[in-house]
Amino acid sequence: MDKIINREALVGELNKKFGQCAEIFEDNTNQSIKVKPDKLVDIMLELRDNPNYDFKVLMNLNSVDYPENFTVVYHLNSLTHLHKLTVKVELDKADPQVPSITSVWKAANVQEREAYDLMGIVFTGHPNLKRILLVDEFVGHPLRKDFKLQA
Amino acid sequence: MEKSFFNTIADALRNWLMNGLGFSDTAAQLTATAIWTLVVILFILMNLIVLVWLERKFSAFFQQRRGPNRLGPAGFLQFPVDIVKVLGKEDIIPANADKTVFKIASTCLFITTILAWAVIPLGDGVILADLNIGLFYFLAIGSTATVSLMMGGFSSNNKYSLIGGMRTVAQMISYEIPMIFSLLGVVMMVGSLRLSDVVAAQQNMWFIVPQAIAFLVYFVATVAETNRGPFDLAEGEQELVAGYFTEYSGIRYAIWMIAEYGNLVAVSTIASIMFLGGWNAPFGLTFIPGFVWLLLKIYFMIFLFMWVKWTYPRIRIDHLMHFGWKFLIPVSLANILVTGIGIYVYRLIIG
């Protein structure tokens, strides 16, 4: 099974360092934290570079269209400690904007473009935020729940 | 014996033209030459039919497949049928192509191939023009083939063709040199550029024995000269789709193929003549005519070409250049030096 990181300590240290930006997110996986979008890049850098966490790998970058908000989900993995962490950022339904973390992991580049393409989340500071899978003229973002499917 | 046989036919033809039809001497000579040219073209085409079939069969056998086997015995008639198909295809000329050059490029290559065949003997005395500079003529004509490949590459208005054409020029010019140098050793030993003299000098020993290195250099250089794998960079289908003939279709494409296979047969024939004793029969098996021996040797060479092509991956262009200039040319030059010393020592001993 996955190794569980001590989230209380992690959140405490993050909050101490960057000021009330992270909190524990309760779900069934027991490895999620929720952070505020404006401090995201700093937190990710800390998570990557601090040897206590050492999250060298961005496993997955996902975006979910919940009824109340858009959530961008970052799955992190550490090759040395073999523990995992899920970082969630909740975004406003009307104007989903989140800072890009391409400067932290280049792996985020294509995944953020995909999230922009299919979910319509704007990653500010992304070097090349264009549609990646769909054509440039495409209207709408298919993975949103309000996207009308045509047979 | 054989010489008389073919010469008798030629003489009979000339006599018949002059006496029977009342041609003048020059006219009879010209007509006989024209007929010979037709025979050569026919020979190339016949070879082509066999070669395309062989190439497909051999590649299939190397790959544990069966190859063509539907039309005719063992699929032998597949190629004639393909030719008919190709003739029926639309002749597509790309927009903005240099139309004139595009049209004549493939024919130019075919012409050089046929011209090269003028001095290649297919048996004792079976030759169109037994020039005293036969080998020189062959090499000189062979190097003009580069121009037509470049024409095809440049005129197609296609980036892949352009890169393919550029690669061809670089490659063929580089590999011309070791090819010529490798043949020089043989020429030095014979003391003549006439191909029939070269064959005559191999009565007792084939030149592959004293000139083994030259044979290897020649083999590698000709693989590059004929644009066959592992040196088929000009076509380079993995990155250049089909190289200089990407845009060709129908009969023009077929002419490229005919010329390429014609070149392949030509260089194989030269190899057989220069190194494998030409129409001399080995082990005293003289009851088989020399013409057949020569054909066997040619096809042995072609088998070698195909074997290599269907085993090796393609070499990279810079490695190709390094290999040509830094390895093959020094080796062939050293071979010339050793041959020269050898001849000098031999003369010193014999007196």
Binding site: D2, M59, V64, H75, L118 | K159, I163, P313
Partner: protein, 367 residues
């Protein structure tokens, strides 16, 4: 006035060596690449959106359409994710676990055989290509025997596998697995040991350890760069903790290392299948799961070691019969992101080889 200019070359989408409909715009200086830009999406089918209108069981066949040369592994990833979401990973019957390992490793062999084969074709070694596809075809025959299909098996089920192994499978599989080391040796003889091939692939497109982690490479590509990681060993799923196998790791991370790592991995896979065939117990192949799969509300991110890298499924369940959101982390999609970086400054011929060495499958990239 003479002047020079950069040549813009469209590599693809219909090009022999882009392994599908991948398009790359190259800026060439001579034949050296100055800049490469990826263009994806020619095969986009919206499988993630499709999943939202299919039940959990009904989505299984679509996995074969992702990475169509390793369908069995994809299905395994998906059913493993759903099982994890439902919390029934421990209830899968022994026999089903062994069947999954056998078929998964066979599929990995098939996928790597294709990798070696297409690598050979991209350096114009057509004969080695045929040998690779011959080996792969024999594996596919086995998969067909089990599942009825060669590429899209639809054999894994949530809670086990669809049916027991057919009669005669064990013997046939044993025969093939005993023969397979010879096949690998043949590929090593005709391709890997060939000096021309080595000259073509050595020092081409090297990826350093840091760069590989930064760009999120996974699987054999990451291991070739010298990162010692394998999910089968580090986070054993299924019954992989019972198998003892080496994890081959490269040194330089160049194309040759990527090929070698896969060749070594094939040898290890053969060992795993051999042991699994020896140890496979009798018994049921399906756990007791409800007919209608209704996972509890929640989410799961589960990944397993696919042939191309870590294939991950992030499934968000709202307690209904259909996934609320299903995200496929596709290894090829992320791996291809490094190609523009790799291609910078190398020769056009090398770019084709470097692209092939990433082992991309467009069905998975574009989803």
């Amino acid at each position: 006035m003479l002047k020079t200019q950069e040549l813009t070359l469209n590599l693809g989408p219909h090009h022999p060596s882009t392994h599908g409909v991948f398009r790359c715009v190259l800026n060439l200086e001579g034949e050296y690449i100055q800049k490469a830009v990826n263009h994806l999406g020619y095969l986009h089918r919206g499988i993630e959106k499709l999943a939202e209108s299919r039940t959990y069981t009904q989505f299984i066949p679509y996995n074969g359409r992702l990475d169509y040369v390793a369908g069995m592994l994809n299905e395994w990833t998906y059913v493993h994710a759903v099982e994890k979401l439902m919390g029934i990973t421990e209830e899968i019957p022994e026999r089903a676990q062994y069947i999954r390992v056998i078929l998964g490793e066979l599929q990995r062999l098939a996928s790597h055989a294709i990798y070696i084969a297409s690598m050979a074709l991209d350096v114009a070694g057509a004969t080695a290509w045929f040998y690779g596809f011959r080996d792969r075809d024999e594996i596919l025959d086995l998969l067909e025997m089990v599942s009825g299909q060669r590429l899209m098996p639809n054999y894994m089920r949530i809670g086990g596998v669809a049916a027991d192994l057919p009669e005669g499978f064990i013997e046939k599989c044993q025969a093939l697995i005993d023969e397979f080391p010879n096949r690998i040796a043949e590929q090593e003889g005709i391709l890997i040991g060939n000096e021309i091939f080595q000259a073509r692939v050595k020092n081409v497109g090297p990826i350093s350890k840091e760069m590989a982690l930064d760009y999120g490479l996974t699987g054999p590509n990451l291991r070739a760069s010298g990162v010692d990681t394998d999910l089968r060993r580090d986070e054993p799923y299924g019954i992989y903790d019972r198998f003892d196998f080496k994890v081959p790791v490269g040194e330089k991370g160049d194309t040759f290392d990527r090929v070698l790592v896969r060749i070594e991995e094939m040898k290890e896979s053969v060992k795993i299948v051999k042991k699994a065939l020896r140890d496979i117990p009798e018994g049921p192949v399906m756990a007791k799961v409800p007919k209608v799969i209704k996972p509890p509300v929640g989410e799961v991110y589960s990944r397993i070691e696919n042939a191309k890298g870590h294939l991950g499924f992030h499934i968000v369940s709202d307690g209904s019969t259909k996934p609320y959101r299903l995200r496929i982390y596709s290894p090829c999609f992320v791996n291809i992101g490094i190609f523009p970086e790799m291609a910078k400054g190398i020769h056009l011929m090398d770019a084709v080889v470097a692209l092939a060495s990433l082992d991309i499958v467009l069905g998975e990239i574009d989803r």
